[in-house]
């Protein structure tokens, strides 16, 4: 026993405190730290909500139903995953009411991958959206693939901090969704069919309408722009902006029936900023190769040699079987839900 036990105790305390400091620094190095208040940080602004989809450009977002599929998507180079309870193809087969995926599954996916995680809510289902925002989903898809809860209206997306993506078949529908606060638009296509024809149609209709608006803008024909705004029931400013840009003012992805690398390249060629792949990957026999091949074909769509390489990575024999859209009865169409 030292003659000054108190000092020895102080030495130990000092060592302990320095140990804590080292521990804090080690934690900081791996990114964990005591909460530091960020000066003047404004979350959920328009820049933040519209800027996020811009980072997904030239990329592929893949539908997944569990962690294993999400990891396959991430390894293949996807820019994001969309968590569903059932793939659109299975939604068709199962019938009944299709709802938001299990929150537990979504959280599980969020904890296992580093790329953005999206999830679908039913059209106008505010509360499903509130729940998804609370658990921290990166992007919410207000989707016609799930059963709508309101035939007349969509969610007011300005209320949320998380960006939304909505589907459209033509320009008026797209602009209505944007005026409701959608930060991103996708074609509706006909989900779960493995048949890209409807997505092609929607993109062509969209592009033609934008071209017409653009020429009206160039000719200084304000009346035509105003008529269009009135007909679509959207603000004139939004119509003018679209006409001036010659494209939708938010990022626009292709979705609905994309099943092969060539399908993805085709949609990019038609002017999509990126693609959503639904049933096409995990309803095929070769999901790993197919996921990788579609990512490659999307990024290099303007280079046919690379798309050839991508298309050769998959076999048509392994592709999802698909459904001819013409064999579907009107009530079986998903694209007509929500207008």
């Amino acid at each position: 026993m030292s003659i000054s036990p108190g000092l020895e105790y102080l030495d130990k305390l000092r060592d302990f405190l320095y140990g804590m400091l080292e521990f804090r620094d080690r934690l900081r190095e791996v990114g964990v730290q005591w909460p530091v208040k960020l000066p003047n940080a404004l979350p959920g602004t328009v820049n933040v909500k519209v800027g996020f989809p811009a980072m997904l450009r030239n990329g592929v977002i893949m539908d997944v139903t569990n962690v294993e599929q999400a990891q396959i998507a991430e390894e293949a180079g996807a820019v994001g995953v969309m968590v569903l309870d059932k793939l659109p193809y299975d939604v068709r087969k199962a019938g009944g009411v299709a709802r938001m995926a299990d929150l537990k599954v979504i959280e599980d996916v969020m904890n296992h991958i580093t790329i953005p995680v999206s999830a679908k809510v039913r059209i106008r289902h505010y509360y499903e959206a509130v729940l998804l925002e609370s658990i921290g989903v990166d992007l919410i898809d207000e989707s016609e693939v799930l059963t709508p809860v309101d035939e007349q209206h969509h969610i007011n997306k300005w209320m949320f901090r998380v960006p939304f993506v909505n589907g459209c078949r033509e320009l008026c529908e797209a602009l209505r969704r944007i005026s409701e606060g959608a930060s991103m638009i996708r074609s509706k296509g006909e989900a779960g069919t493995g048949n890209v024809s409807e997505a092609v149609k929607h993109f062509k209709v969209l592009n033609r309408a934008i071209q017409e608006l653009s020429s009206a803008y160039r000719e200084g024909d304000e009346e035509r722009l105003r008529d269009f705004a009135r007909q679509c029931q959207v603000p004139m400013e939004l119509v003018t902006l679209t006409a001036r840009l010659g494209r939708l003012p938010v990022i626009t992805f292709a979705a609905g029936g994309i099943a092969t690398p060539a399908d993805a390249a085709l949609m990019m060629w038609l002017g999509a900023d990126g693609v959503f792949v639904g049933s096409g990957i995990f309803k095929s026999q070769d999901p790993r190769q197919r996921a990788e091949a579609i990512v490659l074909a999307t990024a290099y769509w303007d280079d046919p040699e690379t798309v050839v390489e991508a298309q050769k990575m998959v076999s048509e024999k392994s592709a999802m079987v698909g459904i001819d859209v013409r064999t579907l009865k009107p009530e079986e169409l998903l694209q007509t839900r929500g207008v």
Partner: protein, 198 residues
């Protein structure tokens, strides 16, 4: 002057637009080209690595030898500016806030340590104002942003924010953890005047 934008994935168009505007404002006659193949790297005076998903950019550039050639060019002095995913791509050390080691490939050229998704998820993404040394005041949009938590060697931060450094410069390399291309051309002008024209 010929500025390249790495164009395999990410907000390439926004950077092209910002570079064109910056050149206009500076009265410089130059081209902006997309870099997708090794051949596209020839004759560049500078290159920009855009924001996007760093894992996708890595997967796509590691096909063929685009990534190795890009690393060689940067090591040999090609001026480079990386934003967000671009900063992750240039770092020597990368970790993810949630999953830790990601095992993703990086260029491994800049003496910085980066933590991915540092501030949280998209819900926590934000914008703020930064006063950057030698550049000025800019509106900075942080989207699922990484943070540079450590720098060493000849790397030098130009601004601090909270506990980390959103802008770091090292010789011919400039790393930013936010997206100047969404709000301003000031950073692109600075890059052209100070790194490309050097």
């Amino acid at each position: 002057m010929r500025i390249g934008v790495l164009a395999v994935q990410g907000d390439v168009e926004e950077h092209e637009y910002a570079v064109r505007r910056a050149m206009e404002r500076l009265g410089i006659n130059g081209d902006v080209v997309r870099v997708k193949r090794v051949e596209d790297l020839t004759g560049l005076s500078g290159i920009i690595i855009p924001g996007g998903e760093s894992t996708s950019i890595w997967r796509l550039t590691s096909r063929g030898n685009l990534m190795d050639k890009l690393r060689d060019e940067i090591t040999n002095g090609l001026p480079v500016m990386g934003t967000c995913a671009g900063a992750i791509f240039m770092a020597r050390e990368v970790r993810d806030r949630v999953v830790g080691e990601t095992g993703q490939g990086v260029l491994n050229v800049m003496d910085i340590s980066v933590v991915r998704n540092f501030y949280g998820r998209q819900r926590e993404s934000f914008e703020t104002t930064l006063n950057i040394e030698g550049i000025g005041t800019v509106r900075a949009v942080f989207i699922r942003a990484p943070a540079i938590v450590k720098y060493w060697g000849s790397a030098k931060p130009l601004v601090a924010y909270g506990d980390n450094y959103p802008v770091v410069i090292e010789n011919n390399m400039l790393a930013l953890t936010f997206h100047p291309e969404l709000t301003t051309t000031l950073i692109h002008e600075w890059f052209i005047m100070n790194l490309v024209k050097r």
